[in-house]
Amino acid sequence: MNRTVLLVGVFIAAALVVVLFFGLGKDPQAIDSPLIGRPAPNFALREVGTGRTISLDEFKGRPVVLNFWATWCGPCWEEHPTLVANARAMQPGVQFLGVVFQDNEDKIQKFLRDRGHAYPTVVDDAGKTAIAYGVGGVPETFFLDKTGKVVAKYTGPLDTGLLQANLQKAVQQ
């Protein structure tokens, strides 16, 4: 029995396996946003259909689900029914708001006509709001508590379970 080999081997193997084991349950898509725990950047953008300017400040006092999406994004189609159904069930206690970027208004209107809508959608023409929120791709969803603070962020398409779990954090505060 060579003790040096055994000790060195066990040390390397144990370190490696333990680190990988802790990595297991984690979702590499769930990237921490530096915005979490901070006030959400305010914006005032044009609403699709009405042309009215909507600013985020209007919704202070209730939790907000802020969903960045685009019509050219497949996973956004996938999660759209989830968002609409949950919004119908939870509004006005919880405010849902869609922000579309890198897109054109005709396509957005057609999308909402075909697939249903239950909450306001605004257009981020210059992409400045997406940059302020550090959006890397769509869909990305931010969960704001009633004081307007970001409490959670999810990257990728939501299902009802994920949406409720993240929203729970926003409601508790």
Binding site: V5, L6, A13, V18, F22, G23, L24, K26, P28, W72
Partner: protein, 668 residues
């Protein structure tokens, strides 16, 4: 029907591999010849069943049998046939099945080639192979089963669009699997040597050859991956230290180290335990790499999203680690050295340094790759280890390796006089000076690149003279050229000649990486239709911007004429592809390649309505040489594998108890 047949075949493979592993280990203990025969039969049976199961899956894919879960998941009536064939490895479950098939082929060939030889080691070796086979059969039969029966849909979604974006994405994975899976075979030999507590000279040949073949595949696979990234991802680079790129590099580093330490073992009878350790590490790192790609733990362009099989692979990795370490600790002292080292400034001394450098590189890359996980586990914070860490750590070690690539082969084996050493080391300085001066004249100023050129010039001269010196000697001795060449370079000295071909390729790779990464010129260009803009010696004219709808995507294309000194060289079409089902559009660059370098255009922003684009223009000298030189390395490796004498005599049975050191003279 296909689903049931597939499941039955996979279950049978699981049964046969488990049984064969048990029989193999038992036969190894009892030294039963009859047991070995049965282990061999089980090995062939496993191979047959796995290949048959894969054939059933290919048949189901090609006939669009959407009642098979995997076909329902990746198949589509609209995809072209070549994509359908390749979709076997486009998604998790299919890729594991393909893995099993490749393992079956390897196990069958290795068992067949060794059927008359190495009886002392073979039962345990087959036992180890089939134990690995049992694990992968279990994965396919259980957590990653591609043969589940589902309600047949009329059509499916088709494979991952990235697979369809470039032909390289279709050939890169098979090469990678051939490299990864093949490492199971030398692992089996190494474990068998440890179990027996003996590593005779005879076993070195199958060990070396079974390591060399997957090494060739892995080398090519790594290059294909880099080339794909360069041609498709649009940032103009070929290597980003992405965790999964690192995963393919890690076993390559230890395998390369093992190939070198084996030369010393062959010549001097030392480094037995060390070589065996490197081979084991290589196999374990391929399993780690599989875990990295399949578990979803690492965020990467390669990640398969489902992570259900992560824990199973981790459990296998842990078991294989425990097995390997226990075996090493118990048996390494039995592998006695049969020779000794003489002097540090010698060929074998340089081999030792070479091994040290490869191990340092392995740990550097391994720590950099897993460190973010460690930090997150301990402190709960997310972080990433980026280029600066890897570049600053790897570049100096790489420089030392290139230095050794020149100095090592120049030095004689064993103890040598100072005079002899001086005579060996001084002449190649001429090569170093020539390349350094040439580089300086062409405007190279980066100190690391200049150093690379100097070391590279030195290594080039050493390599070339080592390649042709034996030929020159024979010609002087009165041999005709054809006799000297076919007998020397391609005959008895072929392995030596081949290894210098690999070295020559490596020297070019080093130089091409240094130049292409430090002498890149990048310029952002914004222009509208009809406008012309100068980039370096080139001038670009935007001809057109248009949408091109294709069945699975919409491509927005910018058509740009590239001219040099007023002469049009090419019309490039960089574009943005928007796939349905992807979160972001994928930019696809276009490249105009020449011997001296590439002119590369990738779209940053494209506006078909306004007929204007913003493109990134990148001029990268020498980059194409990387792909060419890596292919040369691979060919050199293959050349070393061709048997010197006809196969029939090369595989002559060796008595199990023969002590062979010093009896067999190695060519060169």
């Amino acid at each position: 029907m296909n689903a049931i047949l597939g499941r039955v075949l996979v279950l049978a493979a699981l049964l046969v591999s488990t049984g064969g592993a048990v029989i193999g280990f038992a036969a190894g203990r009892t030294r039963s010849q009859e047991g070995l025969k049965w282990a061999q039969r089980f090995a062939f049976a496993f191979a047959f069943l796995m290949i048959a199961a894969t054939a059933v899956m290919e048949y189901a894919l090609l006939t669009h049998d959407f009642s098979v879960s995997y076909v329902a998941h990746v198949g589509s009536l609209a995809t072209p046939t070549w994509v359908t064939v390749a979709s076997l490895w486009s998604s998790l479950e299919g890729s594991i099945l393909f893995w099993g098939c490749v393992l079956g082929i390897y196990v069958a060939i290795a068992t067949w080639l060794t059927r008359h030889d190495y009886h002392e080691y073979m039962p345990d070796a087959i036992g180890v192979w089939l134990a690995c086979a049992a694990f992968f059969s279990f994965l396919i039969a259980g957590p990653a089963n591609p043969f589940l029966s589902v309600a047949a849909a009329p059509d499916g979604p088709g494979p991952n669009p990235l697979l369809q974006n470039h032909i390289l994405m279709v050939i890169h994975p098979p090469f990678l699997y051939l490299g990864y899976v093949g490492m199971t075979i030398p692992f089996g030999f190494a474990c068998a040597a440890l179990i027996k507590g003996r590593l005779g000279h005879a076993l070195l040949k199958p060990m070396r050859e079974s390591l060399m073949l997957p090494w060739v595949f892995l080398t090519i696979a790594i290059m294909l991956g880099g080339w794909w990234a360069y041609e498709v991802l649009g940032w103009g680079g070929y290597w980003a230290w992405d965790p999964v790129e690192n995963a393919s590099l890690l076993p390559w580093l230890t395998a390369t180290a093992a190939l070198h330490s084996m030369v010393v073992l062959e010549r001097r009878g030392v480094l037995k335990g060390w070589t065996v350790t490197l081979i084991q590490a290589t196999f374990l790192l391929t399993i780690l790499g599989t875990f990295m790609t399949r578990s979803g733990v690492f965020n990467s362009v390669h990640s398969f999203t489902q992570s259900a099989i992560g824990p199973t692979i981790l459990a296998f990795l842990a078991a294989a680690l425990i097995f390997s370490i226990a075996l090493l600790a118990m048996r390494i002292d039995l592998l006695e050295a049969e020779g000794n080292f003489e002097g540090a400034v010698s060929r074998e001394g340089m081999f030792l340094f070479n091994n040290l450098m490869f191990v340092i590189l392995t740990f550097t890359v391994l720590i950099g790759t897993t460190f973010p996980l460690l930090v997150e586990a301990v402190k709960g914070k997310q972080m990433s280890v980026g280029r600066p860490y890897f570049d600053s750590m790897v570049v100096p070690v790489g420089a030392v390796l290139l230095f050794l690539l020149g100095v090592g082969p120049a030095l004689p084996w064993g103890r040598a006089t100072k005079e002899k050493i001086r005579r060996a080391l001084l002449p190649p300085i001429a090569g170093a000076v020539v390349l350094l001066a040439a580089g300086y004249a062409f405007g190279v100023r980066n100190p690391w690149t200049l150093l690379t050129l100097a070391f590279g010039g030195y290594a080039a001269q050493v390599t070339l003279s080592q390649m042709w010196m034996p030929l020159v000697k024979r010609l002087r001795g009165g041999d005709s050229f054809s006799k000297a060449f076919f007998d020397g370079q391609l005959g008895r000295g072929r392995r030596r000649f081949a290894s210098y071909i690999v070295h020559a390729g490596a020297v070019v790779v080093f130089i091409a990486i240094a130049i292409s990464s430090t002498m890149r010129y990048t310029q952002e260009v914004h222009f509208a239709k009809g406008q012309t803009v100068n980039v370096g010696a080139y001038s670009l004219t935007l001809l057109n911007v248009f949408d091109r709808p294709e069945p699975n995507r919409v491509a927005t294309v910018a058509q740009i004429a590239v001219a040099k000194n007023g002469v049009q060289k090419a019309v490039l079409e960089p574009r943005m592809n928007q796939y349905l089902g992807m979160r972001e559009p994928i930019g696809t660059p276009d490249v105009y390649s020449t011997i001296g370098g590439d002119f590369y255009l990738s779209v940053m922003n494209i506006d078909p309505a306004g007929q204007s684009v913003a493109v990134n223009a990148i001029i990268t000298p020498f980059v194409g040489w990387i792909w060419i030189a890596v292919v040369v390395m691979g060919l050199g490796g293959l050349m070393a594998l061709i048997p010197v004498r006809p196969v029939a005599t090369a595989f002559k049975p060796v008595p199990a108890d023969a002590k062979q050191y010093g009896k067999e003279v190695v060519a060169g």
